[in-house]
């Protein structure tokens, strides 16, 4: 199906994009188009103006500044998989990108687009939450940096103003032991359940840092802060972890749909946490 009639403009610079976005109240950014195009075709979205930000050079940068890796909003899933800078400094992000959709979608879809789309089942968010990522937003008037956790509001909803563009994601370098798990029935599907976890521990097994986030289990991806604080500083036994996981999963409220019932999603999440978070905690002791 065709989108509703619309005007299309290519922005070569951020300033050009800001001025284009200010021309129409319902103007929308198009990045890789892998989420917005399907919505335009279904006419769930029908902006009168699309501003293509692909030509803006600075949005394609991947840059190491001290202890942070800054990834431009227009960097594609494929470029994340292939970047040696990301491989060295954020292997967890690279592994996450490998599980997104399929070859064709990874060739076009961008990290900025995925974050702004805020699909509760998308893959980057749990990883980026575990990594304590921030996003940089710019408009003609101001620039602000926001924790990703505060940027995500709910399903398909983020804390962005009309006329603002997400320009980059800032991620503290992290080479700690991690686990990224996506469970889907078919490899190109969205997750039925997903988890991203980082665990640092002393040689005796005491947990010194633990960060766990889950996707597809609520109206937005979630950091499991309570579970983290129960386990941090501890040397848990398997039965302690299992008990706490079962309790934590009770609080989740996943969607019930054709990809999986709410009960099923919770069950899968509990199993992923026990198995994969478990092997981070108990492995190598």
């Amino acid at each position: 199906m065709y989108p509703k009639p619309l005007t299309y403009k290519k922005a070569k610079t951020l300033d050009e994009a800001f001025s284009m976005l200010s021309q129409n109240d319902d103007a929308r950014v198009i990045a890789g188009g892998q989420s917005i195009m399907p919505m335009l075709k279904l006419r769930i979205a029908s902006p009168s103006l699309l501003v293509d930000i692909a030509p803006i050079r600075e949005l394609h940068e991947i840059r190491l500044d001290g202890n942070n890796l800054t990834i431009g909003a227009m960097v594609t899933h494929r470029e994340i998989i292939e970047s040696s800078e990301i491989g060295k400094n954020l292997p967890m992000l690279q592994e996450t990108a490998r599980h997104i959709a399929d070859v064709q979608i990874r060739n076009r879809g961008t990290i900025g687009g995925s974050i702004c789309e805020a699909d509760p089942s998308a893959d980057y968010a749990p990883t980026l939450l575990a990594l304590d990522a921030k996003v940089v937003l710019k408009s003609s008037r101001e620039e602000r940096t926001v924790d990703l956790d505060d940027f995500i509001v709910g399903p398909f909803e983020v804390n962005i103003n009309q006329g603002e563009i997400l320009t980059s994601v800032i991620i503290p370098v992290n080479r700690s032991p991690y686990s990224v798990v996506k469970y889907a029935r078919r490899s190109a599907d969205f997750a039925v359940a997903s988890m991203a976890a980082i665990v640092e521990k002393k040689p005796d097994g005491t947990i010194t840092d633990i960060r766990v986030a889950v996707g597809a289990q609520s109206d937005r991806p979630l950091r499991m802060k309570e579970l983290e604080s129960l386990l941090k500083g501890q040397k848990p036994q398997k039965k302690d972890l299992y008990l706490e996981v079962d309790k934590a999963v009770e609080h989740l409220d996943p969607i019930d749909d054709i990809h999986g019932s709410a009960e099923y999603r919770k069950e899968v999440t509990a199993n992923i946490l026990k198995t994969n978070l478990g092997s981070l905690i108990f492995g190598g002791i």
Partner: protein
């Protein structure tokens, strides 16, 4: 009133120009203006991959790109794989010889995805083949013969000296 835009897309080496509505999908430009009807529309929802083409050397779903986004870029469709008129590309030939298609609806997209894989990797494993075509659905074959065809295509391309290819750098374009 939305104004038409004048665009020029190089399809299989030939420049195709037209005034189009900005909302026109690339797949419709290819089929209706460039006449490359080998590119199919299956699901129209970014799932099936029947519309897969190469955009500046990268496999993409042409139902999920506006024609205006491809202005001044290069597209390769199934019709453009073979270098010699009337002769099939080794990937096409191996699909025919290995029964890699039944109704043929998915085939052009499947072959473009296979071609893209074989132009990027050597000694591909079955796992890599399955991963490479995970964005292409086939309702007929059950995939086994497609996978066989792709394995065979790799051998044939090697024999014909059809080697790995550099993509053009396209991410940034003024």
């Amino acid at each position: 009133m939305v104004e038409n835009r004048h665009i020029s897309i190089t399809v299989n080496g030939e420049r195709k120009e037209a005034d189009v509505e900005p909302r026109m999908l690339l797949v419709h430009f290819l089929r209706e203006i460039a006449g490359s009807t080998g590119t199919h529309v299956g699901c129209d929802t970014t799932n099936c991959g029947a519309c897969t083409v190469l955009l500046d050397g990268r496999a993409v779903k042409s139902c999920t790109i506006l024609a205006v986004q491809a202005d001044r870029r290069k597209i390769t469709t199934i019709e453009g794989l073979s270098k010699e008129p009337g002769k099939m590309h080794p990937v096409q030939k191996s699909f025919v010889d290995n029964h890699g298609l039944q109704c043929g609806y998915c085939t052009s997209g499947m072959i473009i995805s296979a071609y893209w894989l074989l132009k990027h990797k050597k000694n591909v494993s079955e796992q890599e083949i399955r991963e490479a075509i995970s964005g292409n659905l086939c309702r007929c074959t059950g995939y086994d013969n497609i996978i066989m065809s792709i394995k065979d295509a790799e051998k044939r391309m090697e024999e014909e000296g059809d080697t790995l290819e550099e993509e053009q750098a396209v991410t940034v374009r003024k």
